[in-house]
Symmetry: C2
């Protein structure tokens, strides 16, 4: 079985990073629309989107937010973390076919409550910043090594 583990508060160091990449496809945008209810035509209707300042469909900004939250829960600090807050600044649109790369970097540790502050930067395949932000997370006190649940398989109806 594949496993996931975490970094405890004591293990985490200032400057520690984690990174992940994802290609954002039309299917991701459709899934986000189904999940959130955001069927704004700038995301789903290529004909309409072509008439906007974006000149084509763009992904929901919060889709990148979802990727950040996943990296915090799965990688740094990982399981056992308690997500306290997140700020997000949407800088550039992400388009279907773009590959985004997120980097989390620990910038501060608050010993009193075991909180780590993470700088969050999402770049597109051209190295341009599409999203920046800051997360505050209560890091786990205990080391966990857990079975990784399988990812639910979803199908989008054509």
């Amino acid at each position: 079985m594949p496993q996931i583990s975490n970094y405890t508060y004591d293990e985490i160091t200032i400057g520690q990073t984690a990174t992940c990449s994802k290609r954002v496809d039309v299917q991701d945008i459709q899934l986000f629309a189904a999940l959130s209810g955001d069927v704004n035509p700038v995301h789903l209707d290529a004909g309409f989107a072509a008439t906007t300042q974006f000149k084509g469909c763009i992904a929901h900004g919060m889709l990148s937010g979802a990727i950040i939250s996943a990296a915090i829960a799965m990688q740094l600090p990982g399981p056992g973390s308690i997500y306290l807050s997140q700020s997000l600044r949407f800088r550039l649109p992400v388009r279907p076919g773009d590959t985004i790369t997120l980097t989390l970097e620990v910038t501060e540790k608050k010993d009193k409550r075991g909180i780590v502050v993470l700088d969050c930067t999402v770049l597109n395949q051209q190295g341009k910043r599409v999203l920046t932000g800051t997360a505050e997370v209560m890091a786990p006190a205990e080391k966990l090594v857990l079975e990784r649940p399988s990812t639910p398989r979803v199908h989008i109806e054509a």
Copy 2:
């Protein structure tokens, strides 16, 4: 055809609100896991989740963030908005079966760039705050009345 429309910057008033409710089901959590890659067992493995301080599965915090982003895009200001920033403070867990109610309230208008500031509050069915935050949105200058794209239909494989 169902339609969606927006509030232009000039139409928006301080104190204006929009609200929406959603029951969060296991299927929403599975969809969010598939979309984000966050398969942390606290969300997906009831047996493991029962051993944590949460005493059962909880929804991903950013699922509530997705609901906020949808209400901004669909309701206030609606289509033509440009999402600039969002802050989120996760206060209480949301569990499968909970019904969450989001209220957006306009607290400020910044005439120079046509930006509105929205206070975002998500309550659970007990009226307790599960998430609070602030959004900054460039409101549309032009009135839009658009066909509402149908929501993509997704199936989760058992």
